[in-house]
C-alpha cells in the first residue's frame, strides 16, 4: 500500500518537475547542443578546451568553498548560542539575524558602494583615505558579501535542527561524562547533521552559481558571470548553454559528494524534544557576552541595508565624501510609494509569492516523503533533481518559461480561447508562469527543510498512528506535518522572502505594468536617470521593512524562537 502510494507520488512529482523545470530548461540549453538541426557536443567539449571557461568554473568552485566555510563559521556558533542560552534581547536578535538575507536587488549594490566605496563611509569613518576596496579585494569581497547574505539560511536550518534535538540525548551524554565541546561534536553535531547538510548544500550551490554579488564586485572570472555575459552578447553564442549544463552537472555531483560525506547517516530521535530543559539563563556580563556576537554579525551584515536606507532618505547629490548624507528628505518616499506602479506591484508580488510557497509546500512534502519514508528505487534521483533549480541561472529559466509560453500561446486551442490565453500566454497574463517560476526556483529550500525534518523524526510515531487505524492522509495531517512544522516554516519563510525578491523571471515574464511585481517596479524606478537610485532605494526599503516585519513577526508569534515552537 505504502509503496504504491510512494510510486504514485514519485511519478506525479517527477512529471510536474519535468514539465515545469526540465522542459523549459531544455528549450533554452538545446541552443548549445544543436547546430543546423544536428546534435553536437562541440560546444560542451569546447567549454573544457577553453582556458577561460575552465578558470571560471574553478573560481566558482573556490567561491562556493570559501562562502560555505565562512557561513558555517558564522551561523553554527550563533545557532548553538541561541539554542543554549536565554539572554537579554534574544527575541529581537533572533529575528534580526535573519534580516540580512533580504537585500533588495539593484539598490543593494548602491547601498553597499555608498559605504565601502572609495569616498564611502567606511574609509571616511576610519580615516583611511581613498582606498578602492571594491576594486581590490574581489575574491574576498565576493565571498564575504555572499557569506553575510547567506548565513541566515544555514542559521535557520541549524536552529530548526537544534530545536529538534531531544535534550534527553544530551543529558544522557552528560551523565556518562561527555560534556562541553566533546558533547557538541559527539552528540549534538551528529544529531543536527541533516539540518546542517540541508543548509550547507543550499549555501554551497547557491554561492557556486550566484550572479548578483560577483557582478557588484565586478568579478567576471566565474562561471555564472560568464554565462550572463555570453547570454547578453550581441549575436549568438552557444557557449552559455553548454556552460549551464556543465554547471548543472557539477552542482549535482557536488551535492551527491556532499550527501555521501555528510548526509549519509541521519539519526532520528524517538521523542521529539519533549522537555524545555535546553536553555540556560545568561544575565549580566555573561548575557552581554552571548549577545555580543549576534550584534556584531547583524551590524556587519546589515551594512549594505543601512546604505540603502540612508540613500533612500538622501537628497540627490548630498551623500558624497561624508559618512552619512548631508541633507535628508522624504521626497524619495513620496515619489516611490506614490507611484502608480507601486500599489499594484506590491499586491502582485504578494499574490505570486504566496501561491508559489503554497505550491512548494505541497510538492516539498511530497518529495521529502518519497525520499525519506519510501524505499522505492530511484528516489535518490528525485532528491538530487529537486536541487537543480538552484544551479540554473535565473536568466536561463526566464528565457525557458518565455519559450514555453510562446509555444503554447501559438497553439490554436490557446489562441482563440480567452481562458487559456489568460492562463498560458504571458503577454496576456503572466501570473501562472510567474508563480511556477518563483516556486520552481525556490523549491530546493522547501525540499531540503522538509527532508531534514523527516530525517530527524522517527518513523515510529507515524507507524503508531497507522497501527491505530489512521490512514496516510490522517497520519500526515495529524502527526507528520505538525512534527516537521518548524522545518516547513523555515523553508517557507526562505521561499517567500526570496520569491518577493526574485529578479530575472520578474523582469522578463511580467511585461505589462498591471502585472509588475515589486522587483520590477524597483528596476523601473532605478532606470530613471539621475534620481532613480534614490527613488528605487525608497521602494527597496519598503520591501525590506515588509519582509522584516514578516520574518520577525512570524518568529515572535510562532514561539520564543523560530523552530522551537513545539517545545512549550
Amino acid at each position: 500500500m505504502r509503496a504504491k502510494i510512494s510510486w504514485i507520488i514519485f511519478i506525479a512529482v517527477s512529471l510536474i518537475f519535468g514539465f515545469l523545470f526540465l522542459a523549459p530548461l531544455w528549450m533554452v540549453v538545446k541552443g548549445g547542443f544543436v547546430e543546423g538541426g544536428q546534435f553536437t557536443l562541440k560546444y560542451l567539449v569546447g567549454v573544457f578546451r577553453n582556458p577561460v571557461y575552465l578558470e571560471g568554473l574553478t573560481n566558482s568552485l573556490l567561491i562556493a568553498i570559501g562562502t560555505s566555510t565562512l557561513v558555517t563559521i558564522i551561523a553554527i556558533p550563533l545557532a548553538w548560542l541561541s539554542n543554549k542560552y536565554d539572554f537579554p534581547g534574544k527575541k529581537l536578535v533572533s529575528g534580526l539575524i535573519l534580516v540580512p538575507m533580504i537585500l533588495p536587488p539593484f539598490v543593494g549594490a548602491i547601498g553597499f558602494q555608498q559605504i565601502l566605496g572609495v569616498y564611502g563611509g567606511f574609509n571616511l569613518a576610519l580615516g583611511l583615505g581613498p582606498v578602492d576596496w571594491l576594486g581590490k579585494l574581489q575574491y574576498w569581497g565576493v565571498i564575504s558579501l555572499q557569506a553575510l547574505a547567506l548565513y541566515p539560511i544555514m542559521y535557520l536550518n541549524a536552529s530548526a535542527a537544534l530545536a529538534n534535538v531531544d535534550p534527553a540525548m544530551e543529558e544522557a551524554a552528560a551523565n556518562l561524562g561527555c560534556r562541553g565541546i566533546k558533547k557538541f561534536f559527539k552528540i549534538t553535531l551528529p544529531l543536527i547533521m541533516p539540518g546542517l547538510f540541508a543548509g550547507g548544500t543550499i549555501v554551497f550551490i547557491w554561492s557556486f552559481t550566484e550572479l548578483g554579488t560577483p557582478l557588484i564586485m565586478n568579478y567576471t572570472k566565474c562561471a555564472s558571470v560568464q554565462v550572463f555575459d555570453a547570454l547578453k552578447e550581441i549575436g549568438t553564442n552557444p557557449f552559455p548553454y553548454a556552460l549551464v549544463c556543465v554547471m548543472l552537472a557539477m552542482s549535482v555531483s557536488l551535492y551527491l559528494i556532499g550527501k555521501f560525506i555528510f548526509g549519509g547517516k541521519a539519526y532520528a530521535m524517538q521523542s521529539k524534544a519533549a522537555t524545555v530543559a535546553g536553555t540556560k539563563n545568561a544575565r549580566g556580563i555573561k548575557g552581554i557576552l552571548v549577545l555580543a556576537p549576534f550584534v556584531l554579525v547583524i551590524f556587519v551584515a546589515l551594512t549594505p541595508h543601512l546604505g540603502v536606507i540612508a540613500t533612500s532618505f538622501a537628497a540627490p547629490g548630498s551623500w558624497y565624501q561624508s559618512i552619512l548624507p548631508q541633507e535628508f528628505t522624504s521626497a524619495n518616499y513620496i515619489e516611490a510609494l506614490g507611484h502608480t506602479m507601486t500599489v499594484s506591484s506590491i499586491r502582485n508580488s504578494l499574490f505570486y509569492s504566496v501561491l508559489a510557497v503554497m505550491f512548494n509546500t505541497v510538492i516539498g512534502i511530497a518529495i521529502a516523503y518519497v525520499v525519506v519514508r519510501s524505499t522505492i528505487p530511484f528516489r535518490g534521483i528525485l532528491d538530487s533533481l529537486a536541487m537543480l533549480p538552484l544551479a540554473v541561472p535565473g536568466l536561463v529559466m526566464a528565457f525557458g518559461y518565455l519559450s514555453i509560453s510562446s509555444y503554447l500561446s501559438n497553439q490554436d486551442w490557446v489562441k482563440d480561447q480567452p481562458f487559456w490565453q489568460n492562463l498560458l500566454d504571458v503577454r496576456t497574463n503572466p501570473t501562472l508562469f510567474l508563480v511556477i517560476a518563483y516556486a520552481i526556483r525556490r523549491l530546493p529550500y522547501m525540499v531540503r527543510s522538509a527532508v531534514a525534518g523527516l530525517q530527524q523524526t522517527s518513523v515510529t510515531l507515524e507507524e503508531a498512528a497507522a497501527n491505530l487505524g489512521a490512514n496516510l492522509w490522517t497520519t500526515l495531517r495529524k502527526i507528520t506535518i505538525p512534527l516537521i512544522m518548524a522545518n516547513l516554516i523555515a523553508g517557507g519563510l526562505l521561499a517567500f522572502s526570496f520569491s518577493m525578491l526574485e529578479v530575472s523571471d520578474s523582469l522578463m515574464l511580467a511585461q505589462r505594468e498591471d502585472f509588475y511585481p515589486i522587483t520590477k517596479t524597483i528596476y523601473e524606478l532605478f532606470q530613471l536617470i539621475g534620481t532613480g537610485k534614490y527613488i528605487a532605494s525608497a521602494l527597496g526599503v519598503w520591501a525590506m521593512m515588509f519582509l522584516t516585519v514578516t520574518i520577525i513577526g512570524s518568529s515572535l508569534i510562532l514561539g520564543r524562537k523560530l523552530g522551537a515552537i513545539f517545545r512549550v
Binding site: G37, N50, G117, W542
Partner: protein
C-alpha cells in the same frame, strides 16, 4: 497578546504606507473601443510615460480618439532582440504547420537567417528537397505581413541601437511603414529640399526605409573632479588617448562592446580617429584624402590595393593608424576597472568616486553630472565629448512584421519623428509642448532644433532653444556640429566592426588579469617610456590564423570560436612574458619575487 498586537500593527502600518502615499489615478479619457498600440521598448518609464501621454493627445486632435499604449518592457535591448526572434519563429511555425506543411529540423534558424539567400543551394541532390522547403520557409516568412497569419502581436520596437534594429531587419522582423516615395511630406525633407532627418551622417546610419532614428547619442568621457585631484592630475582628460594614461590604472569605467552595438560602434570610431590622426601626421590634406578615397572607391580593388596615382604612404599611414588605435584601446583596457553592459553604471560610479574616469553615453553623463552637484552647488563630476573623436548614433523605432495595429503604429512613427514629439526629448518639464513630468534630456534628431544658416531652420532653433534643458547650440551637443568634425570613411575601419569586438574580448576582457599584472609591472618600474622592451612585448598582436593587421583582420579565416580561443591564449602568454621582461631591469631578483600575483 500585547506583543502580537504590536506586530500586527507594525505590519498594518508598513502595508498601508503605499496606500497613504498613493496619488489619485490620472483621469484618462481612453475607453474600450478606442485604439490601442503595443510597443516593446527598452526606454525607461519616464520616456514611456511622456510619449504615451503626448501621442494620445496628438492622436485625439488629429483622428478624434485617444490611444492607449500597451508597453512591453522585458529588460534590455538584448532581451528584446531575443524575444522578438523567438516569438516570430514560434508564431510563423504554428501558421506554417497549420497549412499542412512540414517543418524540417533546423528550420527555426533558417527563418531568421540573414544570409540564407546569399548561399548557393546544396550540391548533393539528396539534400535538395529539404533545402527547397527551407527556402520556401525563408521566403514565405518574408513575404507575409498580416497579423491574422502570424506575428509577435507587438506593433513597434522603440529604442535600442541602430545595430539592433538593422539586425532585426536582416532577420525579417521589421517592415517598411511607407512605400518608397510615400513618406509623409515634410517629415524627412523640407520643402526646399533640406534634409531634416538625414539618412546617413559621419559613418552612422540614421534612417533606412524600415528604421527611423529619433534621438541621437554620442559616447564621451566623464570624470570625477575630486578623484582627479587625489591622483594629482591637473589637466582633465579630453581625448581618447588620455584614457590610456597609467595614472588611471584600475580606475576607468568601461562600456562593454560585446554586449552593445552602439558601444562597439564607439570603439570602431576610436580606431577611425587614430587612423585620421596618422593620416594627418603623414602630411595628407583633407582634400587629398577626399580625392584618394573617391578614387579608391571608384577603382573597386581588393582591400589594401590602390589605384596607380594614390601613394603607398597613404595606405601605410592608414594601416599604421589602425594599429595605433588597437594599441590605444589595449592600454585603455589595461586601465579598466570593469567592462559593463549597464549604461547607467559608469556615470553612477564616477559620480560616487568609485571610478575616476569612464566612457559613457552623453545624456547619462550629463544627467548624472547635474544630479551630483552638492546641495551647496559644488560640481563633482563632468562629462565631455572628445573633440573630433566621437560619432553620433541614433536611437531608432521600427515597425514589426505582422503588427496587429498597423495603422496606429505608423501614426506613432510619424508622431515620434515630428517636430512636435521631438520636443519631448529636449524640453524642460512643464514647458509648452514639452514633457509633463520628466525632463528627458535626450538629443533630438531633427535639424530644426539646431543652429543653421538657413533662416527658416534657424528661427525654429531659436524657439526650441528657449525651452530646451540643454544648450542646443553647444557644438558638443549639436549632433550636426559633432558630425562635421568627424568625416567618416567606411573603408578605414568599417570592415573591422565585428572583429574588433572579438579582439577586445580576448585582448582586454578574457585576459584582463594578465594584462593588468603586466601593465602594473610596467607602471611600477618607470612607466612605458622606461620599459620600451616590455611595451613592445605587451603590444604584440596575434599571428594566428593570420598576422593581425589592417587587411587580414577584415576577414579572419577559420571558425570564430577557434581563433578566439587561440587569441586568448596568445594574449595571456604575451602578457605573462611582458611582466617577466619588466622586472629584471630595475629591481633585483629577490625583489621581483615579492611582487604578488594578481587575484
Amino acid at each position: 497578546m500585547m506583543r502580537n498586537i504590536t506586530i500586527l500593527l507594525a505590519a498594518a502600518l508598513v502595508i498601508s504606507l503605499p496606500f497613504i502615499f498613493r496619488k489619485p489615478a490620472e483621469i484618462r479619457d481612453w475607453k474600450p473601443g478606442d485604439p490601442t498600440l503595443v510597443i516593446i521598448s527598452a526606454h525607461n518609464e519616464a520616456i514611456r510615460y511622456e510619449f504615451a501621454q503626448a501621442f494620445s493627445r496628438w492622436h485625439r486632435e488629429r483622428y478624434g480618439a485617444p490611444v492607449k499604449i500597451d508597453w512591453r518592457a522585458i529588460g534590455g535591448t538584448s532581451e528584446i532582440a531575443r524575444y522578438l526572434a523567438a516569438e516570430s519563429v514560434n508564431s510563423f511555425r504554428a501558421w506554417w504547420r497549420n497549412q499542412g506543411n512540414v517543418w524540417p529540423l533546423g528550420a527555426g534558424d533558417i527563418v531568421l537567417d540573414r544570409r540564407f539567400a546569399t548561399r548557393p543551394p546544396p550540391e548533393d541532390p539528396q539534400e535538395r528537397p529539404t533545402w527547397e522547403i527551407l527556402r520556401d520557409i525563408h521566403t514565405q516568412f518574408r513575404t507575409h505581413d498580416d497579423a491574422a497569419k502570424f506575428g509577435t502581436r507587438i506593433d513597434l520596437f522603440f529604442g535600442g541601437g541602430e545595430y539592433d534594429h538593422s539586425r532585426a531587419f536582416g532577420q525579417g522582423l521589421t517592415v517598411a511603414p511607407w512605400a518608397e516615395g510615400e513618406e509623409p511630406p515634410g517629415l524627412f525633407k523640407s520643402e526646399d529640399g533640406i534634409d531634416l532627418i538625414p539618412a546617413y551622417i559621419s559613418g552612422e546610419i540614421w534612417r533606412t526605409p524600415t528604421l527611423f532614428g529619433n534621438a541621437v547619442s554620442t559616447f564621451g568621457i566623464c570624470y570625477n573632479i575630486d578623484r582627479l585631484k587625489d591622483n594629482g592630475v591637473d589637466i582633465p582628460p579630453s581625448t581618447w588617448d588620455d584614457l590610456a594614461d597609467p595614472v588611471y590604472f584600475r580606475q576607468l569605467g568601461m562600456a562593454d562592446p560585446t554586449k552593445s552595438g552602439s558601444v562597439a560602434k564607439a570603439f570602431e570610431l576610436m580606431l577611425h580617429y587614430k587612423v585620421r590622426e596618422a593620416v594627418n601626421a603623414a602630411g595628407f590634406t583633407v582634400e587629398q584624402i577626399e580625392k584618394f578615397e573617391a578614387d579608391i572607391s571608384k577603382a573597386r580593388l581588393p582591400p589594401g590595393e590602390l589605384p596607380d596615382h594614390v601613394p603607398a604612404e597613404y595606405q601605410r599611414a592608414i594601416e599604421k593608424g589602425f594599429l595605433n588605435g588597437i594599441r590605444m584601446i589595449q592600454l585603455i583596457g589595461a586601465n579598466a576597472r570593469y567592462f559593463t553592459d549597464s549604461s547607467s553604471k559608469v556615470p553612477i560610479d564616477v559620480s560616487m568616486g568609485n571610478a575616476t574616469v569612464g566612457i559613457a553615453i552623453d545624456f547619462y553623463g550629463r544627467f548624472q553630472a547635474q544630479v551630483s552637484i552638492t546641495p551647496d552647488g559644488v560640481e563633482r563630476m563632468k562629462y565631455i565629448t572628445p573633440f573630433g573623436g566621437s560619432g553620433v548614433s541614433c536611437d531608432p523605432i521600427s515597425l514589426l512584421r505582422g503588427a496587429p495595429h498597423r495603422e496606429t503604429a505608423i501614426r506613432f512613427i510619424e508622431f515620434v519623428l515630428s517636430e512636435e514629439a521631438q520636443k519631448l526629448w529636449t524640453y524642460r518639464a512643464g514647458t509648452p509642448g514639452g514633457p509633463e513630468k520628466f525632463a528627458l534630456r535626450r538629443v533630438p534628431i531633427r535639424r530644426e532644433f539646431y543652429p543653421s544658416e538657413n533662416p527658416a531652420i534657424q528661427a525654429r532653433h531659436e524657439i526650441h532653444q528657449q525651452y530646451a534643458a540643454d544648450d542646443l547650440a553647444d557644438p558638443a551637443i549639436n549632433p550636426y556640429a559633432l558630425a562635421e568634425q568627424f568625416i567618416y570613411y567606411r573603408r578605414w575601419t568599417g570592415g573591422h566592426f565585428g572583429i574588433l569586438r572579438d579582439l577586445i574580448k580576448t585582448m582586454c576582457m578574457d585576459s584582463s588579469v594578465e594584462l593588468k599584472a603586466a601593465w602594473q609591472a610596467i607602471i611600477d618600474h618607470g612607466g612605458p617610456e622606461a620599459q620600451p622592451e616590455a611595451m613592445r612585448l605587451l603590444t604584440r598582436l596575434p599571428d594566428t590564423p593570420v598576422p593581425f593587421d589592417w587587411k587580414n583582420s577584415m576577414a579572419v579565416p577559420g571558425e570564430r570560436l577557434d581563433y578566439m580561443r587561440a587569441w586568448t591564449i596568445f594574449f595571456r602568454n604575451s602578457y605573462r612574458e611582458t611582466r617577466a621582461a619588466v622586472t629584471p631591469k630595475t629591481t633585483s631578483k629577490a625583489q621581483s619575487q615579492d611582487l604578488k600575483p594578481e587575484t
